[in-house]
């Protein structure tokens, strides 16, 4: 029996007035009453840190949790390229409506229009806020802010701080958070990992955590809980995500009843350094900006073992320029990634493992000179050389696509609340704004929009109804039961006493998810995955080895629970990909392509959000559909030819 109803709470009316009208109709909590409410914020990346700081500034009592040793370590820090905002400082025709349009189209018409419009609206406030905090964005000589262009857009609207925009934005939010900590308005708990979400009578009342230093399992109670815990790209094991990125917080909320939307929408970034061997622990992204001057090619001949400079021009296949003459090497991420897969699968890959394609700067060096090219990309070239021992000024870079971002996530309504009252999801952890494909420089925008400018308003509407109610005590049986569940789980993992590490099983799981639910998906493969993943999970549960003590630092124990959640999620990703009999954005079903090999959407049957309801481990989950309505941007075929 299904217990979920999906009410998106999207306002009606002209799209440019929806957010304003909605803000006016929402209930407010008066300043003196705000301190009576406790809000738990889990995660301290862009979304979490900005939300925690802003809620504390407003006067709420905030408790903030991160499993890192400092809030500044969250993976937002690794974002390189920039952040979009419809400032139109370049006078090149940008507007809120254009950013809205580009984002809806870039997402292949699988996002909610109202959410995306709001995102475009608040994008301009984000830049103002960050500059006021001292984020050192790139400047022109006159002291004004500089912009650059990015994939999927024809205007220059991307603000950046060298190749470290994510770092600088996160430090801004972190510093704002630490100021609130110093004022006693935020209670910060580092090295504290969420292991369960606690509900009572269907409402979220708090969380259970494990202290990663002492091993202590304990409960925290709050009027509302915000999950800003990032994406699930590490389901593939090899990805550009940090080692500790995981789905555990979102997944455990899912197990408590929160719907998980569009898990098959994953973004594979075209320019990463290819894996060099089995021991590889993660993949490294090379900024998309390299495609502005680099030309992508592979040899025309199969299994060509010659060095790149020995392959004459007429024996090279510049396949993006050939297939997409108008966008060429700047084709969007999903399209460039699939094209690379096609040539590597044909046996024309390059490098010792034949698992890459060349990104060649020799033309740019000839045209612009060594100095200009090095000035533009020197820091990326240095990073590449540290990893591969090859100098891209002399030898073409080798790149290959890798898992980078996940558009799917916890289902949320327009207020960013999941279908569990009191439980919110922010940033990459939710599903709401990017549809089936995210444009470059939009992840940072969404994280900060959610944290600085959306949830601080919408949460008041919920909390106002709880005025006068104390948070549910952590002595309540609901907490005791959840805590006991976690203690039992910890004990169980330690006592399995198998032979292989959690890392081993994560790697094996990742291979299956990548093989069957990676860049191209096919019915047969997905069906196979739905038997192979549960089989591997059973082996994992019987044969994993977690050594050491539960009461203290134990990294294997931290890892094993995360891997267990990835197993269940991996299965759901495949199920979702199997259900979605169309190709859209990052989801490419081999059966659904045009004669030229392009993605074929099916708007008639699949213009909906697929939100899954958990029905128990190993059981088939229930699918709920939230129809997508396009009142302003008419769905068209994305063409980049």
């Amino acid at each position: 029996m299904s217990t979920i109803t999906l009410d998106s709470k999207v306002p009606s009316g002209p799209i440019e007035e929806r957010w304003d009208n909605h803000r006016f109709t929402m209930k407010l909590v008066n300043p003196a009453n705000k301190r009576k409410f406790t809000v738990l914020v889990v995660g301290t990346g862009l979304a979490g840190a900005s939300a925690a700081a802003t809620l504390a500034e407003l006067g709420y009592q905030v408790k903030c949790f991160t499993f890192h040793d400092s809030p500044r370590r969250a993976h937002s820090i690794a974002a390189q390229g920039g952040i979009n905002a419809a400032k139109n400082y370049k006078n090149d025709g940008d507007s809120i409506y254009r950013l809205f349009y580009d984002t809806v189209k870039g997402g292949d018409f699988r996002a909610r229009e109202s959410n995306v419009y709001r995102l475009a609206q608040v994008s301009v406030n984000i830049i103002d806020q960050c500059v006021a905090q001292g984020v050192p964005f790139a400047r022109e000589y006159g002291g004004l802010l500089d912009n650059r262009s990015f994939g999927g857009a024809q205007v220059s609207r991307t603000f950046y701080a060298r190749g470290q925009t994510g770092q600088q934005l996160l430090l801004g939010a972190y510093q704002a958070l630490m100021q609130q900590v110093s004022l006693g308005r935020v209670e910060l708990h580092t090295k504290t990992e969420l292991l369960d979400v606690v509900t009572k009578d269907g409402v979220c009342v708090g969380i259970v955590t494990r202290d990663l230093v002492s091993g202590e399992v304990r409960s925290w109670s709050g009027h509302a809980t915000l999950l800003a815990t990032g994406g699930y790209g590490n389901a593939f094991y090899l990805s550009t995500n940090a080692m500790n990125c995981n789905v555990t917080a979102a997944w455990r909320a899912h197990k408590k009843g929160a719907a998980f939307a569009n898990p098959c929408y994953t973004q594979i970034h075209p320019t990463c350094i290819p894996a060099s061997d089995e021991f590889q622990s993660k993949l490294t992204l090379m900024s998309e900006s390299l495609r502005n001057d680099g030309r992508i090619w592979v040899p025309k001949k199969h299994d060509d073992n010659r060095a790149p400079d020995q392959i004459p021009e007429d024996e090279r296949d510049y396949y993006l320029e050939r297939r997409y003459p108008s966008f060429g090497n700047l084709a969007p991420r999903d399209i460039a990634s699939r094209a690379a897969k096609v040539v590597v699968d044909e046996g024309r890959g390059v490098g010792p493992l034949k698992n890459g394609v060349y990104l060649d700067f020799s033309d740019a060096i000839g045209r612009l000179g060594q100095n200009v090219v090095f000035e533009r990309y020197g820091n990326l070239f240095d990073m590449y050389e540290r990893i591969t021992d090859e100098d891209p000024m002399k030898v073409p870079m080798r790149i290959y696509p890798a898992s980078h971002y996940t558009m799917g996530g916890l289902w949320v309504d327009y207020n960013l609340m999941t279908n569990i009252p009191g439980l919110y999801a922010l940033g990459e952890a939710n599903f709401s704004d990017h549809g089936a494909n995210r444009l470059g420089a939009s992840a940072l925008m969404q994280g900060l929009a959610d944290g600085y400018f959306v949830v601080p308003y919408t949460i008041g509407d919920y909390l106002a109804g709880l005025l006068g109610q104390a948070p549910v005590s952590t002595d309540d049986p609901a907490f005791a039961q959840a805590e006991q569940g976690i203690r039992d789980e910890v004990k169980r993992w330690i006592s399995v006493g198998g032979t292989k590490s959690p890392e081993h099983y994560h790697r094996e799981l990742g291979k299956l998810v990548w093989e069957y639910c990676g860049m191209a998906r096919e019915r047969n493969g997905l069906e196979k995955a739905l038997t192979e993943i549960p089989a591997l999970r059973e082996e994992f549960e019987k044969n994993v080895r977690v050594l050491g003590d539960p009461d203290g630092v134990n990294q294997s124990l931290e890892k094993v629970g995360r891997v267990a959640d990835f197993f269940e999620l991996g299965e759901l990703m495949c199920r979702d990909a199997l259900m979605r009999e169309e190709s859209c954005g990052g989801h490419f079903r081999v059966e659904h392509q045009t004669e030229e090999g392009e993605a074929q959407r099916d708007d008639e049957n699949f213009s909906f959000v697929g939100a899954w309801e958990y029905t128990g481990k190993g059981n088939v989950p229930n699918l709920h559909r939230e129809p997508l309505v396009f009142e302003f941007v008419k769905p068209t075929v994305r063409s980049y030819k």
Binding site: S50, A53, E57, H68, D69, S70, P71, R72, R73, H75, I77, A78, K87, N125, I127, D128, Q129, V131, A132, Q133, G134, P136, A138, R139, E140, Y141, G142, G143, A161, R162, Q164, Q167, L171, Q175, A176, M178, Q179, S182, V213, A242, M243, D277, F279, Q280, S281, L285, M383, R386, I387, T388, D389, Y452, P456, T499, K500, S501, E503, R545, Q555, S556
Partner: protein, 253 residues
């Protein structure tokens, strides 16, 4: 290549630590240093021995989570490179590598190679921010920041907070970290209102946890972001000024 590792093992903050010796066999040039340790850990687990605890996260040299003393050098032998970006081609077959946690009184060991760096957060908490509550600040382009100021602020803001500067310093001083944040904020127009108070509060909090600077310069050698000690000079100047400036006249330029 085959290597011998001497690794610091310590059960907990109060336990006595010791070096243990492990063999790392079949190490490939393309491995990162931490992947080499991952492999050693896999072998330890197969053997039924507890793996070595060490911190790491992004493995792209930007999050600042990792950090090891490798043969007595913070982040190892390659200049401007965090431990996670160090690759095994920098080592030779048959070598013995000594691996220790950050060594500093301000960074107590939690387990094996993992240390507690919360003292760095305490310095930021003391004033490492510009007060700007979320709301309606003025348009971003109303604040002009001359390019040289923005660029130098960015040079300083590149600090990843790993703590290598402290670990490399014979005094365990926190000057490079503190001065980098102060330079970032004090060089920008937005940071002027709180400049003297910020400087005073951050420097004095730093001194509660860390040793004193005696200009060894080891910090800038170890810094994976190659942040120069010039910023320490700037901090010292601002700290002195913070004691004599009449803050009522801050609007007078």
């Amino acid at each position: 290549m085959n290597l011998t590792l001497k690794v610091w093992r310590q059960e907990g903050p109060d336990a006595a630590g010791r070096f243990e010796t492990y063999q790392a066999n079949d190490v490939k040039d393309e491995m990162s240093f931490l992947e080499m340790l991952d492999n050693v850990n896999e072998a330890l687990i197969e053997d039924g021995r507890e793996p070595i605890t060490f911190d790491s996260d992004c493995r792209e040299g930007i999050c600042g989570t990792c950090g090891l003393m490798i043969n007595g050098q913070a982040h190892g032998p390659q200049k401007g490179t965090a431990t996670c970006q160090l690759h095994m081609r920098k080592f030779t077959d048959g070598e013995t590598i000594v691996i220790e946690p950050w060594r500093a009184a301000a960074f107590p060991v939690q387990k094996d190679l993992m240390v507690d760096r919360s003292a760095l957060d305490a310095i930021i908490e003391a004033g490492g921010y510009i007060s700007a509550d979320t709301g309606a600040p003025r348009d971003a382009n109303e604040i002009l920041v001359p390019k040289p100021a923005a660029d130098t602020a960015m040079d300083a803001a590149a600090c990843i907070g790993c703590g290598a500067c402290v670990a490399a310093c014979p005094n365990g001083a926190g000057q490079l970290f503190t001065s980098a944040k102060l330079a970032h904020l004090n060089l920008l127009p937005q940071g002027q209102a709180e400049r003297w108070k910020r400087t005073e509060d951050m420097v004095e909090t730093m001194e509660l946890f860390f040793g004193s600077c005696t200009n060894y310069g080891e910090c800038q050698e170890a810094c994976p972001k190659e942040i120069p000690i010039d910023f320490i000079a700037l901090m010292n100047r601002d700290y002195l000024k913070s004691k004599i400036k009449n803050r009522k006249l801050i609007g007078q330029g």
